[in-house]
């Protein structure tokens, strides 16, 4: 039995490479100073979907909402083995919080994807909310299982997984369809595959085609530009290299629920923590000194 998987991914600033310019003076993230990467746990979600496909067959569709530059992680998904990728990009998505984002994603998934299983990373490393997956499940009206560490069984319209519950684990069985949020412990994502990279490196979204042609022909009139773009679209489409792109109108989203107007989240306060002090301490290599050090670290909550 084959299963169709929808994987929802996000392009995020690489918060592991935080440098001096990573934060703006007002405490918000300076996105331009950080390289944009594939959200790490979304790679685990994609890997799980690809493993399901390897074992049972079916189709893996990857969807992201983001800036045109998010095409980068869609190509990366194709390199790793995704069958189809979709970019939701629209200026009216800007400033969406988790509620608006999950609403937009739910419209897109309902409209475009025929799925048995929806997979999301547990959380994105920029906001660390872990809310979008669960909210999306609610809006799709399907069961959700969060914090997946292992897929134990998948058969006859039911799925059994192990989920991390902080102080242990839980084995859960659910009917399909289901939404899973996947943790970094679930697997080690495969790397990009050679032949898929060689082919799909040329995959483009319509907006990328448009931007490139406009940049290359600054003086051409509109009709010519349009023709060039149409020509390129059909050329890419023929080779299976045109990435699907949708706006809010296409997915039938109610604009009141999108972007700023659909986002009730208010930022209460942002604190910019600057680590000023740096000190070191010598610990004698004996039982007592080490025991004291451990206790000290537990007391100041450095370790739990």
């Amino acid at each position: 039995m084959a299963y169709n998987c929808a994987v929802l991914i996000k392009q995020v600033p690489d918060t592991k490479r935080v440098t001096g310019q990573a934060m703006n003076d007002d405490g918000t993230v300076n996105r331009s100073a950080l390289p944009a990467i594939f959200n790490p746990e979304d790679l685990n979600a994609l890997e799980l979907a690809l493993q399901i496909k390897d074992k049972f067959g079916g189709k893996v569709t990857v969807l992201t909402m983001g800036l045109p530059a998010a095409a980068e992680i869609l190509r990366d998904s194709l390199f790793r083995g995704a069958d189809e990728t979709i970019l939701i990009t629209d200026r009216r998505c800007a400033a969406s919080d988790t509620l608006a984002t999950s609403y937009i994603l739910s419209c897109a998934v309902k409209k475009i994807i025929d799925y048995d299983i929806v997979l999301c990373g547990r959380q994105a490393i920029d906001g660390d909310t872990a809310q979008v997956g669960p909210q999306l499940a609610e809006k799709l009206g399907i069961t959700q299982i969060t914090y997946i560490e292992e897929l134990i069984d998948l058969s006859d319209k039911s799925i059994t997984v192990r989920r991390n519950i902080g102080n242990g684990f839980q084995q859960v069985k659910s009917a399909l369809p289901v939404l899973l949020t996947v943790t970094g412990e679930a697997n080690e994502p495969r790397v990009a595959a050679a032949k898929k990279m060689m082919k799909y490196k040329n995959a483009r979204t319509p907006i990328e085609v448009e931007q490139k042609i406009k940049a290359e022909n600054p003086n051409a009139d509109e009709a010519d530009i349009k023709e060039l773009i149409e020509h390129k679209y059909s050329e890419l489409e023929e080779k299976g290299l045109l990435i699907k792109q949708c706006d809010l109108d296409f997915i039938g989203a109610d604009l009141n629920w999108c972007g700023r107007s659909g986002s009730p989240t208010k930022v209460h306060r942002i604190q910019s923590v600057v680590l000023a002090a740096k000190e070191s301490k010598d610990v004698e290599p004996n039982e007592k000194a080490i025991s004291d050090m451990i206790h000290e670290l537990i007391e100041d909550k450095t370790i739990a």
């Binding site: 390199f79 080690e188 495969r190 990009a192 595959a193 050679a194 032949k195 060689m198």
Partner: protein, 601 residues
């Protein structure tokens, strides 16, 4: 998040310096494959982008996935099960699965079998990167030459049967050559190949020291002509590892524990002939082994790179006498020499791979799609032949130089770490053990020297060096080129002396002659790198602050390396040349007196 391609300035510099676009044009035969295969490149830029992306992906897999498993693989080794099957160490099995998914198990196979049709140069880089992560995994990843041998010499039917599975990473292979009494001397192979009444071939006998002998597809060298001794009695066969193939034992080795070394008993195993009878050793195995030698040179480079990095890191952080030990001239010297030796080896190996690509590319072109213009065809043929001669000199040189270098680097790496390096807490000791085989298998260093010295003395080395010397160089290396020119004269007079003294004398001083030739070739290669068109900035270390963001142009750095390499090697060349001219023949004349009797029990 480690990437063994992206974190290596020298590989990336040489990737561009070696002009892979030119090699792509040769391998892609005018980029004609793009019409037929959706992943084949349409032009040189796209080919370069492909090579870069695939190396990047492999670099990531090597750094993040393969390397962290190497220690466990070393401790665990492989298991021979009671039913005669072999279970790989867990990390090897996992890594092979990832490599198959990364679609890199058919790197040099043609597109039509699902391969990537990459140049050997890129394959050498890939092999180095994988070997740095786990040297023993290379013994399986680096066996892609087996599939290439089938591709080059077997019938279309056999190719169809095996090559798709090789490219997909569904099967692995083994070169089943050596026997208890046929190691370096493969002409002594005894394993019997015979036909039944219907003309079907079978194999019977024992093979020993077979790397990955438990692989699914075995290329077996066997005596098909029972009445004919020597190499011309041998043919090459392919068989599946079926019920008549018995793995009798796994060797208990010093290093490369992840690579299963098997003893195999063939009990009337059905097999198929590759190509023609009697050409097994003289043509097919020779071609196979040339590729394998480049593979071992790449493996050596990977091990050396891994060992060097441990020493470099340790010397910067370990304090003795109140300073980091890298401040001590003796330690510092070791590190510099290690680094230069690695870069010299890499220069030689990549140059060798490039020459092989041109040789094979032109040969393929002449076979499949010869130019209509006769003069052009003749020129292509001449170029192919010339590069073949260069390749047959450079291949044994690379295998010899890189594997000896690898042993010296792992030795020095442990030396830098001192007592800590001797302990199993650090990977130095593993690298030392893994390194030790590289000068032994696929032809010992001594045999590589024998193979190389003939080319050195037949004029090939002089021609090749003259070609290198004829390139455009930056004026800043002018004085170095003069030193190299002097060295070249010394090489010529040494060769003349040896020729006068006879073939036995030439072999006796083979190593010295080959050493001089390699030092000169590397000197020119460094000068060419210092004159490179490639603009690339690389980080430099400053005392105590390894990552302070300071950079220099790579070619400036290479000029510094060229200067030190050539300055330090010029007196060595003089000394070697003088040694050759001593005329000392005591090896022949005074052996008994010099070594004394065989020790009594």
């Amino acid at each position: 998040m480690a990437n063994f391609y992206r974190d290596n300035d020298d590989i990336q510099f040489l990737f561009r310096h070696t002009e892979p676009g030119k090699l792509a044009a040769v391998c892609e035969d005018g980029f004609k494959f793009a019409n037929e295969f959706d992943y084949a490149p349409a032009d040189a830029d796209e080919a370069i982008q492909n090579y870069d992306m695939v190396l990047d992906s492999l670099g990531q897999l090597s750094g993040d996935f393969i390397a962290p498993r190497a220690e466990d693989v070393d401790r665990q080794g492989n298991t021979l099960n009671e039913d005669g099957s072999v279970t790989y160490a867990k990390g090897i099995a996992e890594s092979l699965e990832k490599l198959a998914k990364a679609e890199v198990m058919g790197l040099i196979l043609p597109y039509r079998f699902g391969g990537l049709n990459f140049p050997n140069l890129i394959y050498s880089m890939a092999t180095e990167i994988v070997s740095r992560a786990d040297a023993s995994l290379m013994n399986i990843f680096g066996l892609q030459g087996i599939a290439e041998t089938i591709n080059a010499f077997a019938s279309e039917e056999i190719k169809q049967k095996y090559l798709y599975d090789f490219a997909a990473g569904k099967v692995t292979g083994a070169m089943v050559l050596t026997e208890p009494d046929a190691g370096s001397d493969l002409q002594a192979v005894k394993l019997r190949a015979f036909t039944d009444d219907d003309g079907n071939w079978f194999l019977h006998g024992v093979k020993r020291f077979i790397t990955n002998g438990c692989g699914e597809v075995l290329l077996v060298l066997a005596r098909s002509e029972p009445d004919r001794a020597g190499g011309l009695g041998l043919s090459l066969f392919v068989c599946d590892r079926g019920p008549t193939v018995h793995i009798r034992r796994l060797e208990d080795k010093l290093g490369i524990h992840g690579s299963p070394t098997c003893e195999i008993f063939f009990d009337n195993t059905p097999c198929e002939l590759i190509g023609e009878r009697q050409r097994g050793l003289v043509t097919y195995v020779m071609a196979l082994m040339n590729g394998a030698r480049i593979g071992i040179a790449s493996q050596s480079l990977g091990i050396a790179e891994a060992a060097y990095r441990i020493a470099r890191d340790y010397a910067a952080s370990r304090k003795q006498f109140a300073v980091a030990i890298e401040k001590l001239p003796a330690v510092r010297d070791m590190l510099i020499d290690m680094k230069i030796a690695i870069e010299a080896s890499r220069a030689l190996l990549y140059e060798t791979s490039r020459v092989v690509d041109i040789e094979l590319g032109y040969a393929k072109r002449l076979e499949s799609n010869p130019p209509e213009d006769k003069a052009e065809a003749r020129q292509l043929k001449n170029e192919s032949r010339k590069h073949k001669r260069y390749a047959s000199m450079l291949t044994p040189m690379s295998k010899y130089y890189c594997s000896e270098m690898c042993n010296s680097i792992t030795y020095d790496s442990m030396q830098v770490l001192g007592g800590s390096g001797y302990m199993r807490d650090y990977a130095c000791e593993r690298h030392s053990r893994d390194a030790r085989i590289t000068t032994i298998y696929e032809g010992t260093s001594q045999l590589q020297v024998v193979a190389a010295v003939r080319s050195v003395c037949s004029g090939t080395a002089e021609k090749f060096i003259a070609e290198l010397a004829g390139q455009q160089f930056d004026p800043k290396v002018k004085d170095l080129l003069e030193k190299l020119a002097e060295g070249t004269e010394r090489l010529k007079s040494s060769i003349a002396f040896c020729k006068e003294a006879g073939t036995d004398y030439m072999d006796l001083y083979g190593r010295a002659l080959v050493d001089i030739a390699i030092d000169l070739i590397n000197g020119f290669l460094f000068c060419a790198q210092a004159s490179s068109k490639v603009d690339m900035e690389v980080a430099v270390a400053e005392d105590g602050q390894p990552n302070n963001g300071h950079t220099v142009p790579m070619k400036e750095r290479k000029a510094v390396i060229a200067r030190r390499y050539i300055t330090k090697n010029t007196p060595k060349i003089t000394a070697l040349a003088e040694m050759i001219r001593t005329g000392d023949r005591s090896t022949f004349t005074d052996y008994q007196a010099l070594v004394g009797p065989v020790p009594a029990e």
